[in-house]
């Protein structure tokens, strides 16, 4: 192994892989029973965080950035004049094992540009996973990217060795995809997705009958959409998410704010900034649907198709539905406590437990860790809550914005708003 060459390859292929925001290593629960190497813990571990604040859990690289496609939002597109490189199967295995042994990573996240054709590329990815599992007795986490159009046979094999499989929808809508990724079509993505979904269901069914069934993608599948490259609204995006959660048993939907990589009149200009606030709001909306019992149409509807950038979607919902509030902290059901702005799942659970012992007041909530700067306007205690006085929408909204500062909105933006 030539150290300089391997370093150069790693730099090129890590750089090209970084736009995939997913880095989760959770949900696999693979144990190490036979003196092998590694295991995966159910909750996942972030071994480091990049300077942009993202979790580094897996060695996230492309096998190669050579690509026959020309998707205009992608750095590795065929027509882009950049340095190209390709790892050998052995090199990827060696890096994974050596990084893992030093506790740098939870495992491997392997994706690739498409060379020759879909199956040729997919076969190479599967071969790496197979080698790690069978030859190196590796039980760490493996996430393989599915190549659109890969055959069922290869997907079957991929499911045996990988913990998670994912295929990126890339753009939330089919029309967006046609415009920006003319070589790709939605169906090539949906077919493998459907296959993985059925494989997982079949595995779970067989598991009920037989004691030992080979694992099939135990951490499920996920997907990613790029936000802000084409012109869809947030309502369309969360409807898409809702659809995939419901119909494809998707574990996670990732939203990736578009980072300008090329000048093209079909794309936002190179000078636009990454829509980080919008991306953050989409994640919040996603969490509301998955953990807080909100329905997509409660978060947005045709009259309000974009998420409010100034306030989070739960607060926005509360302000639109003031008739629900104030919520009686001592008696309201858990589901309703969960809807109070500033109270998350952990605090809500603690409240429901602690209130059995005594009457809770604002002081208690602060100590429990609830974000009372928002919550206090929406709660009724047994004692008088002076904050309830300002419950008229216009006033309340401004009032809360002034008292809570989003860490994502820069002061300069605020000033522009002020004078704009």
């Amino acid at each position: 192994m030539n150290p300089d060459r391997i370093q150069e390859k790693l730099e090129i292929l890590a750089d090209a892989a970084k736009y995939d925001v997913s880095c989760a290593s959770s949900g696999a629960n693979r144990s190490n029973k036979n003196k092998g190497l590694g295991n995966s813990s159910a909750s996942g571990i972030c071994h480091s965080y990049t300077e942009d604040g993202r979790c580094v859990s897996l060695l996230k690289i492309l096998l190669t950035n050579h690509c026959i496609y020309d998707c205009i939002y992608c750095v590795s597109r065929k027509s882009n004049d950049i340095k190209r490189a390709a790892f050998t199967v052995e090199e990827v295995v060696d890096l994974t094992i050596n990084f893992y042994r030093r506790n740098y990573i939870e495992g491997l996240f392997l994706s690739s540009g498409i060379f020759k054709n879909a199956d040729f590329t997919m076969e190479r990815l599967v071969r790496i996973a197979k080698k790690l599992r069978l030859e190196y007795n590796f039980h760490g986490y493996i996430h393989l990217k599915t190549i659109p159009g890969a055959s069922d046979e290869l997907m079957q094999e991929a499911g045996l060795y990988a913990d998670r499989l994912s295929i990126n929808l890339e753009l939330p809508t089919e029309s967006g995809l046609k415009l920006l990724a003319p070589d790709k079509n939605r169906q090539d993505m949906l077919t493998p997705m459907e296959f993985v979904k059925n494989g997982i269901i079949q595995y779970k069914d067989e598991k009920k009958i037989f004691k030992k069934v080979p694992k099939f993608a135990p951490a499920g599948q996920s997907t990613q959409v790029i936000v802000g490259a084409s012109n869809e609204n947030d309502l369309q995006i969360i409807k898409v998410a809702d659809h995939f959660y419901k119909n494809y048993n998707m574990k996670r939907m990732y939203y990736s704010g578009y980072i300008p990589v090329s000048e093209d009149n079909r794309l936002p200009s190179m000078h636009t900034s990454v829509p980080v606030v919008r991306e953050n709001r989409l994640y919040q909306a996603d969490w509301l649907m998955r953990f807080y019992g909100f329905k997509a149409n409660e978060i947005l509807d045709h009259n309000v198709p974009f998420l409010d950038l100034e306030i989070d979607p739960k607060l926005a919902w509360a302000l639109r539905n003031l008739q629900v509030f104030p919520v009686k902290i001592q008696t309201a059901p858990y589901e309703l406590i969960l809807r109070i702005p500033g109270i998350g799942v952990t605090s809500a659970k603690k409240i429901v437990m602690a209130r059995k012992f005594q009457k809770l007041n604002l002081e208690h909530l602060i100590k429990l860790g609830a974000a009372t700067n928002r919550a206090r306007y929406f709660i009724d205690f047994d004692t008088i809550n002076p904050h309830l006085k300002i419950m008229d929408e216009q006033n309340l909204r401004q009032h809360i914005i002034q008292e809570t500062k989003s860490k994502f909105i820069h002061t300069t933006d605020r000033q522009l708003n002020l004078f704009g």
Partner: protein, 253 residues
């Protein structure tokens, strides 16, 4: 006021708690040996750790409050906080006084809340250590990691590393508390270095010939996987506090 002095062990602490109930002591404080400064007029008793007595306390709590209560006690103990004994005793007293209630979920009680805070802090650092430990490979094929955690979490993370790294020799050493554990492919042994300088000054000569290559590759990977356009230093430091940088391969350059 009676002062019970124990030997710094978890067992010792529980034995002291047992003694409080057995002797029906009211005005009492439990103090670990290293923190004990002999007062002039106090009634001081030295507690001798007793596994049977300690177990009885644990069993009683386990029956009434479940597994989680035991975990909270263990984690609180490893916080090494100076007021830890006071809150542990008060919370146990509160539990014993309310035998039919699951008081461990009464977060409005200051002692229960404090134990849950200890548990959270210690649990967070345990998780951080599982993430941030960086092994370096030495010539003798041993993977060694140095740590200096705020809390004494080493005993809590061994299980994780033992099940993960079964086919390599490794050592994790707490420099601050001067002890560590060595895994010899079969079992764990507690070790304590007489000359801690050797570990602190381990230089390139004693490292395996490939070690620096993989460290460099990891550092370069860390740089390249970052998206410059999204730089967010505040968030970065929030996730990886500076006090951990010293032993992080990717941050120590």
């Amino acid at each position: 006021m009676t002062t019970l002095v124990y030997d710094e062990s978890f067992e010792g602490l529980l034995t002291a708690v047992f003694h409080v109930f057995e002797s029906k002591l009211n005005a009492v404080e439990i103090v670990r040996k290293s923190q004990f400064a002999s007062p002039l007029f106090a009634d001081v008793q030295e507690i001798i750790s007793d596994a049977t007595k300690a177990d009885r306390v644990l069993k009683r709590l386990h029956e009434q409050l479940g597994k989680e209560s035991v975990r909270m006690l263990v984690y609180s103990f490893f916080s090494e906080d100076l007021k830890m004994e006071k809150h542990v005793l008060a919370a146990i007293r509160y539990a014993i006084a309310n035998p039919t209630k699951n008081v461990w979920t009464d977060f409005a009680n200051p002692d229960v809340l404090q134990l849950s805070k200890y548990t959270k802090s210690v649990g967070r650092e345990k998780h951080r250590m599982e993430a941030f430990i960086r092994f370096e490979k030495y010539k003798d094929e041993i993977y060694a990691a140095k740590i200096e955690p705020d809390f004494n979490v080493l005993p809590l993370i061994l299980k994780h590393f033992k099940s993960r790294y079964q086919d390599q020799l490794w050592v994790i050493y707490d420099i601050r508390r001067n002890y560590g554990f060595y895994y010899d492919l079969h079992e764990l042994q507690e070790i304590s270095l007489e000359n801690i300088q050797t570990l602190k000054q381990a230089n390139a000569d004693s490292l395996h010939q490939d070690e620096m290559l993989y460290q460099t590759l990891w550092q370069r990977y860390f740089v390249k996987t970052n998206i410059v356009e999204r730089k967010n230093t505040k968030l970065h430091i929030q996730h990886v506090p500076k006090r951990y940088w010293k032993y992080l391969t990717e941050k120590k350059i």
